[in-house]
C-alpha cells in the first residue's frame, strides 16, 4: 500500500538524480483516508441536526457504558455466588424480593439478582443485534449489487428467493428451526442475519444499486478495463453503503425484538436475556399480579423497548443523511 499518488517513475528514483515531484508526497491510502474522514465529518454535521437521532445515540452510549460495567462488577464488586445471572442465589432473604439495599432492583423467583441479569444481558444483546445486522447488511449489499449489476438470471433468482424468504412467517419458522437444533445466541444471530439478508433488505438495496448502475461512471469504469468484481467493489458498493448502514440500524431493532419474543414464548435455548427474564416471571406465574411484582417485568421490558427505540431513532437520524430530500433546506 505504499503506492504514491504520482506517476510511476517517481517510485523508481529514490535517492540520487533529479526526482519528479508534483508536490504530493502522501501515499494514496492516506489521501483516501482523509477524504473518507472529511465526508464522515460532513455527514456527522447533518446527523447532528437531527435531534431524534442524537437522542437515540445518547441512549445507545448509555447502554454501552452499562454493559461495560458488568465485567468490573462481577470481578471486583459482586460475589459471583450471589450475583451470577444464571446460577446465583442469595440465601439470606425470601424470593422474589422487592428492591432492597443489596439488590437494587430486587430478585427473581429463583433468587437471582435482577440488576446483574440486566447488566449481563446488555452486552449479549449488543452482540446479537450487531452481529445479525452486520451479517445481513454485508451479505445483502453484496447480493443486491450483484443482482443489479448482472441482471437477468441472477436478478430473477435472488428476487424470487427474496419473495420466498419474505413469505415465511418469521416466528413459526424460527419455532420450527428451534425445534430442529439448539439455538444459542450466536447461531440465532447468524440465522437471523441470513434470513434478513436474503429477504427484504436485498430488494431495497438492489433498487438502490440499480440507480447507481445506470450512471455514466460505471460505463467509464468498464471502458477503462475494470473487471466486474472491481466495478462492483469500488463503484457500486460504496454508493449503496450509506443505505445499507441505515438498514443495519433497523435490523438491530428487528433482531432484538425477535429474540425477545421467541425467548418469551420459551422457544430459544438461551440461558439469560431480557426476553428470558420476562419468560421466567411469566412461567413462575408472577405476571398475573402486575402491580405487586413490578420489578420482575418492568426493568427488562423497559430495556428492550428503550434499546430497540434507540437504534430505530439513530436510523431515523441517518435517514436524513442518506436522503437529502428529507433534510431541512
Amino acid at each position: 500500500m505504499n503506492e504514491l499518488a504520482t506517476s510511476p517513475n517517481a517510485r523508481q528514483s529514490n535517492g540520487e538524480g533529479p526526482r519528479f515531484d508534483p508536490g504530493i508526497t502522501e501515499p494514496i491510502w492516506k489521501i483516501r483516508w482523509k477524504m473518507n474522514m472529511r465526508s464522515l465529518a460532513q455527514n456527522w454535521e447533518v446527523f447532528k441536526e437531527s435531534r431524534v437521532g442524537m437522542f437515540g445515540l445518547m441512549i445507545i452510549i448509555a447502554f454501552g457504558i452499562f454493559g461495560l460495567l458488568w465485567p468490573i462488577m462481577i470481578n471486583f464488586v459482586w460475589d459471583p455466588l450471589v450475583y451470577h445471572p444464571v446460577v446465583g442465589f442469595d440465601p439470606i432473604m425470601m424470593h422474589p424480593s422487592p428492591p432492597v439495599a443489596g439488590h437494587l432492583l430486587g430478585t427473581d423467583p429463583i433468587g437471582r439478582d435482577i440488576l446483574a441479569q440486566l447488566m449481563f444481558s446488555t452486552g449479549r444483546e449488543f452482540l446479537l443485534g450487531v452481529l445479525s445486522a452486520v451479517i445481513s447488511v454485508v451479505v445483502g449489499t453484496f447480493i443486491g449489487a450483484m443482482a443489479a449489476y448482472y441482471g437477468g438470471f441472477t436478478d430473477t433468482l435472488f428476487m424470487r428467493l427474496a419473495d420466498i424468504v419474505m413469505l415465511f412467517p418469521f416466528v413459526p419458522l424460527l419455532v420450527v428451526i428451534g425445534s430442529m437444533m439448539r439455538l444459542d445466541i450466536f447461531s440465532f444471530a447468524v440465522i437471523l442475519g441470513f434470513l434478513e439478508a436474503f429477504g427484504g433488505i436485498t430488494v431495497i438495496l438492489k433498487a438502490q444499486a440499480l440507480q447507481v448502475k445506470v450512471r455514466p461512471y460505471i460505463d467509464a469504469a468498464r471502458v477503462a478495463g475494470g473487471s466486474d468484481l472491481h466495478i462492483i467493489r469500488a463503484h457500486i458498493i460504496p454508493n449503496v453503503l450509506p443505505l445499507s448502514f441505515l438498514y443495519m440500524m433497523f435490523n438491530v431493532t428487528a433482531a432484538i425484538v425477535s429474540e425477545a419474543t421467541l425467548s418469551f414464548f420459551g422457544v430459544l435455548n438461551i440461558d439469560m436475556s431480557w426476553g428470558m427474564m420476562i419468560h421466567t416471571a411469566e412461567t413462575a406465574g408472577y405476571l398475573f399480579d402486575f402491580g405487586k411484582y413490578w420489578w420482575l417485568w418492568a426493568p427488562s421490558g423497559f430495556f428492550i423497548t428503550l434499546f430497540c427505540a434507540a437504534f430505530y431513532m439513530v436510523g431515523r437520524g441517518l435517514d436524513e443523511v442518506v436522503n437529502p430530500r428529507l433534510r431541512k433546506r
Partner: protein, 393 residues
C-alpha cells in the same frame, strides 16, 4: 399489450414461487424431529404394532418422495389432508373456520392504525422541526419498538383485570353463547357481510353527493345524516334478527386487541407518511396553491397529502397481508382463535398437515397481496412502467 404480457409473466413466476415455497415448507416439516407415532411414547399399553399401524394408516411409512408427490397433487385438488391433533377434522375446515376471525381482527386494526398514522403523519410533516414533530416521533417509535407481548399483557391487566372495562381474553363469552341459536361463525359471517354492505352504502352516498360536498354545508349534513341512517338501519336489522347482543359481544372482545395493534402499528404509517409528505411539500404546485391564498389546512389536506398517499397505500396492502401470519403473537397473547394461533400450536405440537396447511395458506395470501401491491402501485403512479425497470431518460 405490454400490460398483458407483464401480467402473464408475473402470474407464471407466482406459480413457480408458490411451488418452490411449498417444497421448502414440506422439507422443513420433514426435518422436524419426531412424528405423530412418537406421541405417548412413555405409555407401555400402546404396543409397537399399533404405532406401525398408525403410521401406515396416515401414510407415513411411504418414502418421503412419494409423500411429497401426493402432497403437491392433493394441494392442487384442494385437499390439505387431515389434522393429527384434532384427528378426524380436515385441515381445510380448520383453516376456513379460523380465517374470518383473523381477517376481521386484522383488517379492522390495520385500517384504524392506518388512519391514525395518516392523520398524525400529515400534521407532523406540516410542522416539521416543531416540538409536536419531535414528541410524536419519539412516542411513535417507542410504541413501534415496544416489547409487544409485554405491552399486550399490561393492557389486558389494566383494562380487563383491574378496571373491568373490557372482557378478559377469548373472542366470545362462553356463558352467553351456550344458549345461542347460532354458531359464532354464522354471526361472524353476518358481521363481515354487514360491515361490507355499510361501507359500500356509505361510499355510494358520498360518491353521489361528491359535487355538492365541496360547496355547501347542506349536502355535507345530508351525507352524514344518511350515513347515520344506514348504520341505524343495520343495528335495527341485527336487533330484529336477535343477533345484536352476540355481535356486541364479539365487538367488545375485539376492542382490546384492536387498540393494542393500533398503538403498536400507527407509527409505521405515520413515519412513512411524514417522509413522503416532506417531499411533496417542496413541490411547485403546493407553493402555487399557497400563493393563491388557500387556507393552510386545505393546502395540506387537498394538495400535499393526496400525492403523498401513494407509498402508504402500498404499505397498507402489504401490512394487511403480513398480518395474516404476523398476527401470531397477538392471537396467542389475546387467546384469539385465529390462523396464527393454529400455526403456532401446530408447529409446537408436531401436527404437520395442519402446520403445512397453515403455512401454505398464508403463503398464497402473501404472494397474491404482493402481486396486487405491485399492480396497484403501477396503476396509481403512471411513471412506473410494467417492466420493473425505472423509466429510461
Amino acid at each position: 399489450m405490454i400490460m398483458r404480457r407483464y401480467m402473464l409473466g408475473r402470474v407464471g413466476q407466482l406459480v413457480l414461487t408458490l411451488l418452490i415455497y411449498m417444497t421448502l415448507v414440506y422439507f422443513l416439516m420433514q426435518a422436524m424431529p419426531g412424528d405423530i407415532s412418537q406421541m405417548y411414547l412413555a405409555n407401555p399399553r400402546i404396543p409397537q404394532a399399533a404405532r406401525e399401524e398408525l403410521k401406515k394408516q396416515l401414510g407415513l411409512d411411504r418414502s418421503p418422495f412419494l409423500q411429497y408427490i401426493s402432497y403437491i397433487k392433493n394441494f392442487f385438488t384442494g385437499n390439505l389432508g387431515v389434522s393429527f391433533s384434532q384427528y378426524p377434522k380436515p385441515v381445510w375446515d380448520i383453516l376456513i373456520e379460523r380465517l374470518p376471525r383473523t381477517i376481521v381482527l386484522f383488517v379492522t386494526a390495520n385500517c384504524l392504525s392506518f388512519y391514525v398514522g395518516f392523520v398524525l403523519g400529515r400534521i407532523i410533516a406540516w410542522q416539521r422541526g416543531a416540538t409536536v414533530d419531535h414528541i410524536a416521533t419519539v412516542v411513535g417509535i417507542t410504541f413501534w419498538t415496544a416489547f409487544y407481548p409485554l405491552l399486550s399483557l399490561i393492557l389486558i391487566w389494566l383494562f380487563a383485570y383491574t378496571l373491568h372495562w373490557l372482557p378478559l381474553n377469548q373472542f366470545i363469552e362462553p356463558a352467553l353463547w351456550t344458549r345461542a341459536p347460532f354458531t359464532s361463525n354464522t354471526v361472524f359471517g353476518y358481521m363481515v357481510l354487514g360491515i361490507a354492505l355499510i361501507a359500500l352504502a356509505v361510499f355510494f352516498i358520498f360518491w353521489t353527493l361528491r359535487r355538492g360536498l365541496r360547496r355547501t354545508r347542506r349536502s355535507a349534513a345530508l351525507a352524514w345524516g344518511m350515513t347515520a341512517g344506514v348504520i341505524c338501519l343495520a343495528i335495527w336489522i341485527a336487533h330484529a334478527t336477535g343477533t345484536l347482543i352476540y355481535i356486541w359481544d364479539i365487538i367488545r372482545h375485539m376492542m382490546l386487541p384492536v387498540c393494542t395493534l393500533t398503538l403498536i402499528n400507527f407509527a409505521g404509517t405515520m413515519l412513512l407518511m411524514r417522509d413522503s409528505m416532506l417531499e411533496t411539500v417542496q413541490e411547485d404546485y403546493v407553493m402555487a396553491a399557497r400563493a393563491k391564498g388557500l387556507p393552510d389546512n386545505v393546502v395540506r389536506d387537498r394538495y400535499a397529502a393526496r400525492n403523498a398517499l401513494l407509498p402508504t397505500v402500498t404499505s397498507l396492502v402489504l401490512s394487511l397481508a403480513s398480518s395474516m401470519s404476523g398476527g401470531l403473537v397477538t392471537e396467542t397473547m389475546f387467546s384469539w382463535p385465529g390462523l396464527g394461533q393454529v400455526l403456532f400450536r401446530a408447529a409446537l405440537g408436531n401436527d404437520y398437515p395442519l402446520a403445512t396447511g397453515a403455512l401454505v395458506f398464508t403463503g398464497v395470501f402473501l404472494l397474491v397481496a404482493h402481486f396486487v401491491a405491485d399492480l396497484l402501485y403501477a396503476a396509481l403512479d403512471p411513471r412506473i412502467s410494467y417492466t420493473g425497470q425505472p423509466a429510461e431518460g
